[in-house]
Amino acid sequence: MVFVPDVPRFYLELTAWEHLRFIAMAHGVLHGFDQQAETLLRKLGLWEARDLFPHHFSRGMRLKLGLALALIRPFEVLLLDEPTSALDSEGVGLLIDELRYYKEQGAAILLSTHDPNLIDQLGDRTLKIQNGIIEA
């Protein structure tokens, strides 16, 4: 299972690329890492920032790096907390495409959002919470 919080936190001393490498090595998915990581970073628009420390990232870039760390390793369940809160429209479109791909691969995705567009495009099943009560 993978969880991406709404405000991801990172190691001060590791660059974006090193964070990806850390996660990939921890999960033993180093085969083809360089190519896979480059593809992922380019899709998320972080390739030029791969050698920067995350504390110099904007909020949107931090969210994208959090997503990259989630997607670099295999998963069956993906939890996302407000994944579009800091993304621009292009970023949202990109995220929807990626999530749709993983959904088609059989992954279960659970996300919380205030974005109706995200719900319309991705939601197979929706739970609405109003005043702390789950509505249908």
């Binding site: 299972m1 936190r9 090193e18």
Partner: protein, 537 residues
Amino acid sequence: MQAVHWLRTRQEEYELSYWLSFVAYDQRDRSFNNRIYLLYIILFFSVWIFVVLTFFASAGSIILRLVNPLNPIRAALFLEILLLGVWSVVAFWLSLRRSPVVFSEEDEVLICQTPISRSLVTLRWILMPWVKSGILFWLAAIILGFSVAETSMPGVITANRILEYAGYGLRAWVVVIPVHLTLFALQWAVGILRLQKDKERQGLAWLVIPAALALFSFLWIFTFGADSTARMPWSQIVSSITYPMLAGFGQGNISISILTSGLFAIAALAVMVWSSGTFSLSRAAQETREVDTLEAASRYGFTDYARQLQDQRRLGVNRAPTRLPAFDGAGILIWKDLLQSQRSFHLSSAFIWVQLFLLLLGFAFLPDLGSRALVIGFWVIQLGQGSVIRLRGDLALWALTRQLPFALKDFLLFNQIPAYLLSLLISEAGLVMGSAIAKTPMDGMAILLPGIAASVAGLAAFDVIRQARSNMLIAGYVPEVSAAGIMLGLVATAIPLLIRSFIPGIIGLFLSTLMSLGIGVLAVNLAYRAYHHMDAS
């Protein structure tokens, strides 16, 4: 401008109330009792500071006689000029690298982006930083004044001569105030000139070299050249600068001295105001808001956040990918630890480890059990705090580290192993070196250290983890080692040492070693159980 004055006054009051809170005085309490308490605080600390300064003045009088046995007043002036001069050169250099005028993030929004008169803002801003900077020099001047009194006043200084004695210190203080203000305002003026509205003057840092040379020449002429070359121009310049300050130590007219140095201070302030006409407040705020945040975090006890800000500044923006060899699986934690240590290394981060080394280096020199127990106590405290630095850092990234595919025990072990091995190596090195220098065998202690270090590190980790809550970890809040953790570490250290001291010979060594290793294993298991419990809750 009224708004700026109001805002700055509020900031100054807030700062003052912070310092007054150390003596339990609440500015907001307008009761009669509280005002009496304020009077009491003023009187108490006036007397207390006076007494403390007289102690320093006793040592100061000895130093004055060493510097210039024939003329202690000249010695006092030399020391005062040296202090002010060195500080000026350093402050001058710092001003040329970063704005001396510090603005917070709130100031940046409320003031720096408005069309307010820059000169008036600078003039209003200088008060608090000047006072904070000046306190040390004022105290130094008073101490020097008292030292001069001790060398000048004949006979024993009794209670009925207190006012005369205090007068020496007061005179020196009154003279140094405008002198310090002059130098402070000039340092601000230089820093402000660098940051003008339409341009930033780069590369002015080289100006510090002629400033340092001028200081050196000044001191040289004052010390060796003024008497023999009294008619030369440079001697006249030196004399005109030193004359007002000499009056602070009893040579010369104090009124003329204050008037002269006061005029210098006003002139320096005028230069500062003139230089701020097109001062870029926004650029100054950009350069200093982080400094302000860091100072506030350190002052109000947010030490983790302050350390994080300092590390961010040191790391800079980017780095080329590391070439450190890495290992798959849980071994990647060691790779991460090495990389973090390599990139965040600086003198203050090494301080804990240096302390471990020095404490055990001195252990062999101590004659009795009591002093050794004290040293071991400090060692336990430092080791406990140092051994959980990485663990706390990883727990602060709970959302990231919890998802790593390692067994909980592996995560804990690989997290703690580098710190444990480093602390053990450093401690053993200190102990062995101290033992060799003092020619006192410490074999028993050296054998016990691995178990004791494991106990202390394990119990410190246990203490941090038992206090942690996953909802707080998600937000990045990680508890520190508490008093309970330190007490556990001390007890775990004391048990094998007591066994060793009560049961002599090889049997005592064997039993104490077994006990220390046993407690070490127990401590690690406790930490693991606490981690498992936290994870499950």
